[in-house]
């Protein structure tokens, strides 16, 4: 079947469209009260670009692309740690408050 040899790009396109549809549904299902944490999480996961930075930083040597890679890893790491921790902080505020019961 010809479709076998379909190129990488079309596969990327397929994945892209499916992911956009999922994004649409998943984001609309986020409760409005958690829209701020949503910004935090998306911030953190968008730094998955670190994958590319690691590949660039990977080989031995000191050429220019390696420097970009290392810089990319630093910046993306700031984001990853920062994003997840800020989100964690926000979300832990939304915990059920058991001490409320005692107070009333």
């Amino acid at each position: 079947m010809e479709a076998h040899s379909s190129e990488i790009f079309v596969i990327g396109l397929t994945v892209f469209f499916l992911a956009c549809i999922i994004g649409y549904y998943v984001v609309w299902s986020v409760t409005p009260a958690l829209h701020s944490p949503l910004m935090g999480v998306t911030n953190a996961i968008s730094s998955v670009i670190i994958v590319g930075a690691i590949l660039a930083a990977g080989p031995f040597g000191h050429d220019i692309s390696k420097i970009f890679g290392i810089l990319g890893v630093v910046l993306a790491s700031i984001n990853i740690f920062g994003g997840f921790i800020v989100t964690y902080r926000m979300l832990s505020m939304f915990k059920k408050k058991p001490k409320k019961e005692n107070k009333d």
């Binding site: 994004g23 968008s46 690691i54 700031i78």
Partner: protein, 463 residues
């Protein structure tokens, strides 16, 4: 690790990211969601470290430690009220990181399996330069947005002649540069694209008022996602494509929700010139109308004798950091047997979910915090609406005055409750610059003062 194994692990990581967002559909599941996100990221990083071309563990490890330490430090120190700035600052990092990755792929395409320096495939070049362009705009736009939100840069919209024409010309210039780049693969042109895109990012955000920044930040968030997608196409990496699409969709939807809540089109936000101090010109002349004033004791007395109170927080509560004092006030009222609830407008504050986070920080249980549609029909049966630092989101002009810029925006019907208490420092307008006729109503009492101080005084009077 085999290519198949890598693909499966990346897929797993992408699915975990999807479940991370999915978890945010309820506060109960949200923490688990965040953990999924973290696990997904760890899997992605470890998988990549296993590539046989990745050798310099020391440098990469050091980079992660340095970056991680900075990120952790910032994230732990930041005040919850400074969240909008923080998000903007983080976006700028994603943007520039995307540029760095594209640059690395350009200089060392072999590491990414897309050819050799000077002989990269056309489609990779196109994807790479689009990623670079979006990344660079995200970088500079976010930096300026950060400055405006932080107050480092004036929040005034800086409007100058022909700015849209100039921006359009720059855009065409960038497109021309991209075409040249695809043809001759010259490093000079690559960096020209970066620099001109950075300039464009500044120019696009300059005319937008400080208060419109949240929409801009959200749009830049969306851009950073599409930039990641672009890089994902270049590297044929489904993980980047899926994650980029999720982030892109999220930013776009949040901008849409905000613009809708503000009753403005995204386009009008992007074209700029709105949201600065001069917007206050819409204020009509109300100097002859009578305003009923009260103080903390009056407020305490009125609320103590009510059966039900709905608290409507707004931007002023965030500015004054009044959430803790407010929660204390609410607790005392609840102990008196009064039904106390919080009503949150979709665009109260300056960021989606802004009020919810602050109230949660102050330990208000989320069951007491209700969205507009959940609580709006309860105002007629409520004795006291306690509006603290909110203004536009209660303005009935949105329903009655067709000429008002906020006409059509959904509002909280506080005017239907028996008494409305307004805590703010002056008669000044809110974000939209529109006067609020509620201040002059018979059933309204104005409590002038800083939100936090006022709450503390009310607590004293109640005690």
């Amino acid at each position: 690790m085999s290519a198949n194994m890598v693909a499966v692990l990346y897929l797993l990581s992408a699915l975990l990211f999807i479940f991370a967002l999915r978890g945010l559909s309820h506060p109960e599941s949200s923490r688990l969601g965040n953990i999924f996100g973290i696990i997904g990221m760890i899997i992605a990083i470890i998988t990549t470290l296993m590539f046989k071309s990745v050798l310099s563990y020391a440098e990469i490890g050091a980079a992660i430690v340095v970056g991680g330490a900075i990120g952790t430090f910032i994230a732990l120190r930041i005040e919850m009220t400074a969240l909008p700035q923080l998000v903007a600052a983080f976006h700028s990092l994603v943007g520039i990181a995307a540029v760095f990755v594209a640059a690395a792929a350009f200089y060392d395409p072999a590491s990414f399996g897309i050819g050799n320096f000077g002989s990269i495939g056309t489609s990779s070049l196109v994807e790479m330069s689009i990623g670079t362009f979006i990344g660079a705009i995200t970088f500079s736009g976010s930096i300026l947005a950060f400055g405006k939100l932080q107050g480092t840069v004036s929040g005034k919209p800086i409007v100058f002649k022909f700015q849209h024409t100039i921006n359009a010309l720059i855009l065409f210039f960038i497109i021309a540069l991209i075409i040249m780049f695809v043809i001759n693969q010259s490093p000079t042109i690559f960096w020209s694209i970066v620099i001109v895109s950075i300039i464009l990012g500044f120019l696009v955000v300059i005319p937008i008022g400080g208060a419109d920044m949240p929409v801009v930040v959200s749009m830049l968030n969306s851009y950073s996602g599409w930039a990641a997608c672009g890089i994902g196409f270049t590297l044929s990496n489904n993980l980047l494509i899926i994650t980029g699409a999720l982030v892109g969709a999220s930013g776009a939807i949040l901008s849409y929700i905000m613009s809708k809540g503000m009753n403005r089109s995204i386009i009008s936000v992007v074209l700029g010139g709105f949201g600065g101090e001069q917007a206050a010109s819409v204020t009509s002349d109300n100097s002859d109308k009578i305003v009923k004033q009260g103080n903390a004791e009056d407020a305490a007395y009125i609320m103590k004798n009510a059966d039900s109170v709905i608290i409507v927080p707004g931007y002023g509560m965030a500015v004054a950091q009044a959430q803790h004092a407010l929660r204390e006030m609410g607790d005392i009222l609840k102990k008196e047997g009064i039904n106390v609830r919080y009503a949150i407008h979709p665009v109260a504050g300056r960021m989606p979910g802004h009020m919810n986070v602050l109230l949660a920080e102050a330990n208000v249980p989320y069951e007491e915090v209700l969205e507009l549609d959940e609580i709006n029909h309860d105002f007629p049966m409520t004795e006291v609406s306690f509006v603290i630092g909110a203004n536009d989101v209660t303005n009935p002009a949105a329903k009655t005055d067709e000429t008002s810029p906020i006409y059509g925006m959904p509002i909280l019907d506080v005017e239907k409750s028996q008494t409305v208490l307004f805590v703010k420092r002056s008669m000044a307008t809110g974000y939209s610059g529109v006067d609020n006729e509620l201040f002059y109503r018979d059933n309204t009492t104005m409590l002038f003062g800083d939100a936090k101080k006022m709450c503390e005084n009310i607590v004293k009077s109640l005690g």
